[in-house]
Every structure is written in structure tokens, then in C-alpha cells.
């Protein structure tokens, strides 16, 4: 079996102020994966990434990159890792081109000018290459961070919120670039707040909350097994579900919604009930509906259900 690009075991981090950011996280990123690491704010994503980047010290636990111990073979692992940190900051003394050359050098590689040019072009920075970084817009700086993480051609790229503050068009071009890199063999670990992007791009998802893993599956599995599927039957605004009907359909967890009823089809870890079985049972009690829809939870719904994040936010506001 191939070594995992990244393997994290029982990683814990308690900060000096006593706050537990990671309460024993296990994570495995396969080589060549496009892996999403999701979680609400304060879930511990950045702490995990910063520990890998060596800007935060772990309290305990293990991490391996391509089979090598990250904490014992730091230099080797760092050479094969490119991290896009969440906070944008640059040395004010240098231009983008100089920053990329310096970063390349710090990673022990003589600057590859054609690769640097390609990075600047692909990330829409070519015309700003010689400006002072202070003259760049927020979105440009974030793209420069991406270029900086890629300049030494790492085998594993970790992106911590790379598209925050980047407009739609550039986000799209950034993603197509990441996809291309991924296809040519680069493993990518991504955190993002744009869940629809994660759903489109990533083939594996790990969701953490409160410093712990709450879901870890392939994207397909997550959407087939964990995401709920529902059958919505529309009967008009006057519709009411009698107690007898509710009891008869209880296997399908009926919920009355505006103008109809919603029945559980499958997912959420349960067995697949099958459209026909649910539909026929409903029709035999309620009659032919005027409208039939199949509704499917998307990644965002699943995320909210697993982390209870949206509810938490509401209750605190």
C-alpha cells in the first residue's frame, strides 16, 4: 500500500492559556487526494495546519508525511510541504518576484525563473511582479501567498482559507489551477468556508469540531450515506397531516412543510428506503400529490447538522 501523504495520530494542542484547540485528532490524507478539512471557526483547523507548518508546537501526538516523522525530520518534511497560511503578511522590503525568489532559496532550491513566471501568470500577478507588496490589493496578496507556497514544488500543499477575499472569477481560476496541480500528482489539503467549492473539488472530507473529528469519509460516501434524501409531496396550502396518517407513515419520519409533507428516503446513516416504497405508501394514505420533488442535503446541510454550527451561532446572537 502507498504511504499516506499525511497521517496525523492523536494530535493534541493545549495553548498556554489552557484552551484546548485539538483534543486528539486523527487524520489521514492519501497521496494524490484533494482533501477537505472543514469545521466551524475555532474548531482547530488552523492549529492543526500551524503545527504541521512548525509555527505552533504540538502538546502531544504524532504526524507523518510520506512515512517520515514530521516532528523528528522537520527539514525533510518542510521541503515537501507548502502551506498557505490564513493570515496575509509580507516583508515590506521586497516585491512579489523577490519574495518568490527568496522563498525558493530558503527552501533550498535555486529560483526556477520559468516556474516563478508561470506561477505569477497563473495567479494573475504577472503585471504586479515588480511592485511593492504594499501596493497590492487584498486578493492579490492572498494569491501571492499561494504562489509562495508552491514555489518549491511541494508534494503536499495545505491551503488555509485561500479564497477569503478573492473575487469569484479569480477564485475560479485559482481552483482550476489547483485541480491541474492535483491531477499532476500534488496532494492538496484544503480548508474553506465555501462549502459548495469543497463539494465540487474535494474527493475526501474530514469535518472537525471542538478539536475533534466528527466525520471522515470520501465525498461520495458522505453525500450518499450521511447526507439525507427526502421526498417532498405537494398537496396545496390547505394540507394537514392527520394523526392516523402520521402514525401510518412514521417509518418515513414525515414532516409537514408549507403546502405538503416531507418524507425520509435515505441517507443519514440509515438504509435506503427506495423511492417507490415511500411514494406508494404515501399515495395510498394521502392520494395523488400535485407536486413531487426529491430533496438532497448538500455538504452545507450535512456540515451544519454534524457541527450544530448554525444553531450555535443563532443561540449566541
Amino acid at each position: 500500500m502507498n504511504e499516506a501523504a499525511l497521517q496525523v495520530l492523536g494530535l493534541r494542542k493545549v495553548y498556554a492559556n489552557g484552551k484546548t484547540a485539538l483534543a486528539g485528532v486523527d487524520l489521514q490524507v492519501a497521496q494524490g487526494a484533494f482533501h477537505a478539512l472543514l469545521g466551524p471557526n475555532g474548531a482547530g483547523k488552523s492549529t492543526l495546519i500551524n503545527i504541521l507548518a512548525d509555527t505552533v508546537r504540538p502538546t502531544s501526538g504524532l504526524a507523518k508525511m510520506l512515512g517520515r516523522d514530521v516532528f523528528r525530520e522537520r527539514s525533510w518534511c518542510k521541503r515537501h510541504l507548502g502551506v498557505v497560511p490564513q493570515e496575509v503578511a509580507f516583508d515590506p522590503f521586497f516585491s512579489p518576484v523577490e519574495i518568490l525568489r527568496i522563498t525558493s532559496g530558503l527552501f533550498g532550491c535555486r529560483p526556477d525563473e520559468s516556474w516563478i513566471r508561470e506561477l505569477l501568470e497563473r495567479l494573475g500577478l504577472a503585471e504586479h511582479a515588480y511592485k511593492n507588496t504594499r501596493q497590492l490589493s487584498g486578493g492579490m496578496r492572498r494569491r501571492l501567498l499561494v504562489a509562495q507556497a508552491l514555489v518549491h514544488r511541494p508534494a503536499l500543499v495545505v491551503l488555509d482559507e485561500p479564497t477569503a477575499g478573492v473575487d469569484v472569477e479569480l477564485r475560479r481560476s485559482l481552483w482550476s489551477f489547483m485541480r491541474e496541480l492535483n491531477r499532476s500528482g500534488t496532494t492538496i489539503l484544503l480548508t474553506t468556508h465555501y462549502l459548495e467549492e469543497a463539494e465540487q473539488l474535494c474527493d475526501h472530507v474530514t469535518i472537525i469540531d471542538g478539536g475533534q473529528v466528527v466525520a471522515d469519509r470520501s465525498m461520495r460516501e458522505l453525500m450518499e450515506v450521511v447526507a439525507g434524501r427526502y421526498l417532498f409531496l405537494g398537496y396545496g396550502d390547505a394540507f394537514e397531516l392527520s394523526e392516523a396518517d402520521a402514525r401510518a407513515l412514521s417509518a418515513f419520519r414525515p414532516r409537514v412543510m408549507s403546502g405538503g409533507v416531507c418524507l425520509h428516503l435515505g441517507g443519514q446513516g440509515g438504509e435506503d428506503l427506495g423511492f417507490h416504497r415511500v411514494y406508494e405508501a404515501a399515495v395510498s394514505r394521502l392520494g395523488i400529490p400535485r407536486k413531487v420533488e426529491i430533496r438532497q442535503e448538500d455538504l452545507e446541510d450535512v456540515f451544519i447538522r454534524l457541527t450544530g454550527h448554525a444553531r450555535k451561532e443563532k443561540s449566541t446572537s
Binding site: F93, I102, G105, L106
Partner: protein
């Protein structure tokens, strides 16, 4: 095993060097001008007096001390400001993320500070050459003390930078520790001129040995035996480098 990254250390050295060269008015020209002003002022204030006990012309005595003082202060400023600017602007993470060992980072930072110290020294001497006759008794003493002094101060600058959380902290150390110690270490006078108590106090000031030994290399006389105190100076420098290395490795005040 950790793999070595000499090219990375070299790049860091170049980065640090280019950083101070980009603002050379502030880092090279200004210290040279300050030294020149000191010399002009003391020339008129003191006339052509000789230093009691040493029999050397006062200006000839003063200049090597000024040069060394500038070297010490600039070496300290180079490393301390680089680290604190990095921390305040949050760009120090790129250094932490790079595949460089603590040893490589310390070496590169110190080397760049030493280069700055020597460039400043050369600038001051070049500016003064026209006005004063500067003897040179032993080039190896000058180089040895110049090197040890600037390495020691670069190391202290690293420790100060690691410890500091804001620019104020560095200014505090510069103004209340480094400045008094360098000013009171026999740059402007021979220790023999001091009352016995203060002579004794000066024996515990490390900068006193640095400045006296460095001056010895130019004028050939001094308050101490520079060949005897080289052990002390080299030892202090070595200890300081060791402390820098340990602190950086621990990630003290750099990595939460």
C-alpha cells in the same frame, strides 16, 4: 536525520543583508555621520590633549572606540530589528516554516549583522581618514575583536528580538542597557582616569574589554592586555551563540 540546507542559510543571509542595504542611509551613512560629528566636537572641545597614562593623542584614542561602539550598536540593531519587525508584521512565520535548522538561522542572522558592523566600521574610518591620522598596530587584533564584538551583539540582538513583543521592548533594551554599557565602557576616556571604585565596576562590563582590545589593535596600548582577555571575549561570544541556538530551537516566545 535532518538534512542540511546551506543554500537556504545563504539565501537568508542575503535577504538580511539586502534588507539593511536597501535602507543604507539609516543603517550605514547615519552611524558614520554620528561618529564624524563626535570627532569634530571633541576636536574643538579637547584640543590636542593626550590621554593620561597612555600617552596617546586624544582623538587617536577616541576614534577606535567610536568605531567599535558603532559596530556593537549596529550588530545589535540588525538582528533585533529583523526579528521584531517579523514578529510584529507576522512575517516571522515564513522563517519558521522554512526547512532551516536553528543553527542555520542563527548563523545566517549573525553573519549578516557582522557584515553590517564591518561596513559601518569601514564607512566611519573612511569618513575620518581625511581629518585624522589613524594608526594601525595589529590588524589581527582589530579583526578578532571586531568579529567577536559584533557576533556577541548580534547574538544579544537575537535574544532581545525573540524576547520582545513590540518595538518598544527593543527600544527599552537599546536605550537602557546597550547604550549606557557602551558609553560607560571607556570609549571617551581611559579607565585609568576613573576613581578606583568605578575602575573596579568597569572590570565587570563586557563592552569594556571589547572596546579596549579593539582600540589596542589600532593604537598599540590600552588599559588591559588584549591577548589575555581574548579568552573571556571569545567565551562570552560562544555562550551567547549557544543561548541563541537553544532559545530558537525551543521556539521560546516564537511558537505558541
Amino acid at each position: 536525520m535532518n538534512s542540511l540546507n546551506p543554500y537556504g542559510a545563504w539565501t537568508l543571509f542575503l535577504r538580511e543583508t539586502r534588507r539593511f542595504l536597501k535602507v543604507h542611509m539609516q543603517t550605514v551613512v547615519a552611524p558614520a555621520l554620528t561618529a564624524l560629528l563626535y570627532v569634530l566636537i571633541f576636536r574643538y572641545a579637547m584640543g590636542s590633549r593626550t590621554v593620561p597614562g597612555l600617552g596617546v593623542d586624544y582623538l587617536t584614542f577616541l576614534i577606535p572606540g567610536l568605531v567599535m561602539m558603532a559596530m556593537l550598536q549596529n550588530a545589535f540593531a540588525n538582528t533585533s530589528s529583523s526579528i521584531i519587525v517579523g514578529k510584529v508584521m507576522n512575517v516571522h512565520i515564513y522563517l519558521l516554516m522554512a526547512p532551516l535548522s536553528a543553527m542555520e538561522i542563527i548563523l545566517a542572522l549573525v553573519a549578516s549583522a557582522v557584515v553590517r558592523a564591518f561596513i559601518v566600521a569601514a564607512a566611519i574610518l573612511a569618513a575620518l581618514w581625511a581629518f585624522v591620522d589613524i594608526p594601525l598596530s595589529s590588524i589581527s587584533l582589530v579583526m578578532l575583536y571586531g568579529l567577536c564584538g559584533s557576533m556577541l551583539m548580534a547574538g544579544l540582538g537575537i535574544i532581545a528580538g525573540i524576547w520582545a513583543e513590540k518595538f518598544d521592548d527593543i527600544a527599552l533594551i537599546s536605550n537602557f542597557v546597550i547604550m549606557p554599557l557602551t558609553f560607560l565602557s571607556g570609549v571617551f576616556y581611559s579607565v585609568a582616569q576613573l576613581p578606583p571604585f568605578w575602575q573596579q565596576v568597569n572590570r565587570y562590563n563586557p563592552f569594556f574589554y571589547l572596546i579596549d582590545g579593539f582600540r589596542h589593535g589600532f593604537v598599540g596600548v590600552g588599559d588591559t592586555d588584549p591577548y589575555a582577555s581574548i579568552d573571556l571575549v571569545a567565551g562570552a561570544t560562544g555562550l551567547c551563540m549557544l543561548a541563541c541556538w537553544l532559545l530558537w530551537r525551543m521556539g521560546w516566545r516564537m511558537k505558541p
